[in-house]
């Protein structure tokens, strides 16, 4: 396998006393769409700034195409950033904005205009060449910022919460467009967000960050289905979390002692370890065919209609402080006050070290 396009090695960063990144290592493959996902304060934006050259890390190195870029200024590295507020130059036309990077490279006016038009056509804004940024809508400005960054053909495009300023509908629409554009140009995108739906929709490689560390990384399907840590399980989608203690391993299965009795599931864990069992809402069974793991009865406390499904909250009869988060199909007749038998299948349970 060839060397990764970007190689971040053991990077740490402090702002004054505050450690915002703690020994982070990350590889980015050519042509991939990487998402840095995490809550605010998790260090994801700082990591992006380090990649873009706006911040020099306190420790560690950043290699891009095999060259050490740790202290190289933004202009001199093959990365370009799309800023959260787009940072379009308000006094220049859209065409001049897009052509700016080429102008700085000394490209002549005619070539510049041609390339800028091409880039604008790529993002579907060919007709806006002569407009001023303030004449465009939020989504259009976003696309101009994208065209401006792509036109100088960077090796890596960095996007800092690019959809954060858009309303929900536009956001989902721009998501699809971003993905399509990335496929077309084949540039590696690194995109920061705190929206897990955005992450799942866009990422080839999803990096979950918390408190300055990478909690989990991999294809979004894997991160969702088999999260490595409790944080990752709760941040990337919802889960019902059940505390337990690991018992004997036998035939590739481990028996976990829980408040609902011993549960045997296919996993590995040291004997006697405190563990957490996470169950995704869609894997909890409230009615119909029972799963192979019974979780007692529960009283439905709330049903929230969400369009394509119903989100059901239910309080365990065994422990009133314990709450199940489940998903029922939209036509289901379940309502608050009902008593239901809760179960699930052992293979759907995720075992997390606690």
């Amino acid at each position: 396998m060839s060397a990764p396009l970007v190689d971040i090695r053991n990077v740490s960063h402090r702002f004054g006393q505050l450690a915002v990144l703690k020994n982070v290592s990350l590889a980015i493959e050519p042509g991939s769409y990487t998402i840095l996902l995490g809550p605010s304060g998790s260090g994801k934006t700082t990591l992006l700034s380090i990649l873009g050259g706006f911040v020099t890390p306190s420790e560690g190195k950043v290699f891009i195409r095999g060259a050490d870029c740790t202290a190289v200024p933004p202009a001199k590295r093959p990365t370009t950033t799309v800023f959260q507020d787009y940072a379009l130059f308000p006094h220049m036309s859209v065409g001049k904005n897009v052509g700016f990077g080429l102008r700085m490279q000394g490209v002549d006016g005619a070539t510049r205009a041609a390339k800028a038009r091409e880039a604008l056509a790529l993002v579907g804004l060919a007709a806006s060449f002569d407009k001023k940024p303030h004449q465009l809508s939020g989504g259009q400005r976003q696309r101009v910022a994208l065209a401006r960054a792509l036109v100088i053909e960077p090796a890596v495009l960095l996007l800092d919460e690019p959809l954060g300023a858009l309303d929900l509908k536009l956001r989902r629409q721009m998501q699809d467009e971003l993905k399509a554009i990335q496929k077309r140009v084949g540039t590696a995108f690194v995109h920061v967000t705190h929206d897990q739906e955005e992450a799942m929709a866009l990422a080839d490689h999803c990096v979950v960050m918390n408190d300055g560390r990478i909690e989990d990384e991999g294809p979004p399907e894997r991160v969702y289905a088999r999260p490595k840590t409790r944080f990752s399980a709760t941040f990337m989608g919802e889960s019902t979390i059940l505390a337990g203690k690991a018992g004997e391993m036998r035939d590739g299965r481990v028996a976990v002692a829980t408040k609902f009795g011993p549960i045997s599931l296919p996993a590995t864990s040291p004997v006697g370890a405190t563990v957490a069992l996470a169950i995704r809402p869609e894997h909890l069974i409230l009615a119909g065919a029972k799963g192979d793991v019974a979780l007692g009865t529960a009283r439905v406390s709330d049903v929230v209609f969400q369009g394509s499904f119903k989100r059901v909250l239910a309080t365990s009869a065994r422990d009133p402080a314990f709450q199940f988060i489940a998903k029922a199909p939209a036509p289901a007749t379940v309502q608050a006050g009902d008593t239901v038998a809760v179960s699930c299948n052992a293979q759907d349970i995720i075992l997390l070290a606690d």
Binding site: F15, G53, V55, A71, P73, P74
Partner: protein, 281 residues
């Protein structure tokens, strides 16, 4: 946040140094020079506190300070009392689309030259000026009134200027108030008068204080208005300072008087600053 990709520490200092140097050289250094000068004797240049002790022992100097404070206090109070209702009318009674024009008109004479503005009042208040002419031809008075060269003239000239300044600051403050405060007060049963007293007035107090502070600083340090309109019958501090320079070339005494004047303004500032902080908390 540290910013990478800049030319070290040299660039930022190169940017801010000229302005800082200018301020140090032509503001701080003159101030030190003035302080040193105030401690030297006019004749001979020996070190002395005589310039300061003169102020405290010579009753005519004291009188000038008292006059300054009295004029400033009178002007500040009258200006606020006149300007507040005026700003309120502009902000509340004038239709929205005429407001900008109404305000621009209200402060237009603000932009006449300082010297010319005082001179214009002299035309109005002179022995045979507009007011005296109007009153005599209306048969209200037999002899022209002594209006110019009085404290009344000084105060009128000042009030004219500061009414405009205060109208600006109070108007801005009234417009900043969210209309929902008033709606909420009305919704909770307060009538227009109580809404004004308990909601609008307290919320515009900071604007009044800022305006009042500006008025005090500008009024107490002004030489032109009292000189042109008040004449030499009753001196205020800036006139006294200018007199030391003009007639006698006594820089040390002028410096000492300036420093005393500035100390008074600083005290006023500290008083206002504390007041404003209490308001905000």
């Amino acid at each position: 946040m540290s910013v990478a990709g800049t030319n070290g520490r040299a660039l930022p200092w190169a940017l801010v140094t000229p302005a800082l140097a200018w301020t140090l050289l032509f503001f701080v250094l003159p101030f030190i020079a003035m302080g040193l000068s105030s401690l030297t004797a006019h004749e001979g240049g020996a070190l002395t506190l005589a310039n300061y002790s003169q102020f405290f022992t010579n009753p005519s100097y004291w009188r000038a300070m008292v006059n300054s404070l009295e004029v400033t206090a009178t002007v500040t109070v009258i200006s606020i009392v006149l300007a507040y209702p005026f700003a309120w009318i502009l902000a509340e009674q004038v239709p929205e689309r005429w407001q900008r024009l109404a305000l621009m008109l209200a402060v237009l004479p603000f932009w006449t030259s300082y010297v010319v503005r005082s001179y214009s009042w002299l035309l109005v208040l002179a022995q045979n000026g507009v007011i005296n002419r109007a009153l005599t031809s209306a048969g209200l008075i037999a002899e022209p009134l002594q209006l110019a060269n009085t404290r009344l003239a000084t105060v009128t000239g000042f009030v004219h200027f500061f009414v405009m300044l205060l109208t600006l600051t109070i108007f801005a403050n009234l417009k900043q108030l969210s209309p929902s405060y008033r709606k909420a007060a009305a919704d909770l049963g307060a009538g227009p008068v109580r809404t004004f007293l308990h909601v609008v007035l307290p919320l515009t107090l900071p604007g009044i204080m800022v305006g009042a502070f500006l008025t005090v600083v500008l009024c107490i340090g002004d030489y032109i208005t009292p000189q042109i309109l008040g004449g030499n019958n009753e001196l205020v501090m800036p006139q006294l300072v200018m007199m030391q320079i003009g007639r006698r070339g006594d820089f040390p005494l002028a410096s000492a008087l300036s420093i005393i004047l500035m100390a008074v303004v600083t005290v006023a500032y500290l008083a206002c600053a504390r007041w404003l902080k209490i308001e905000r908390a």
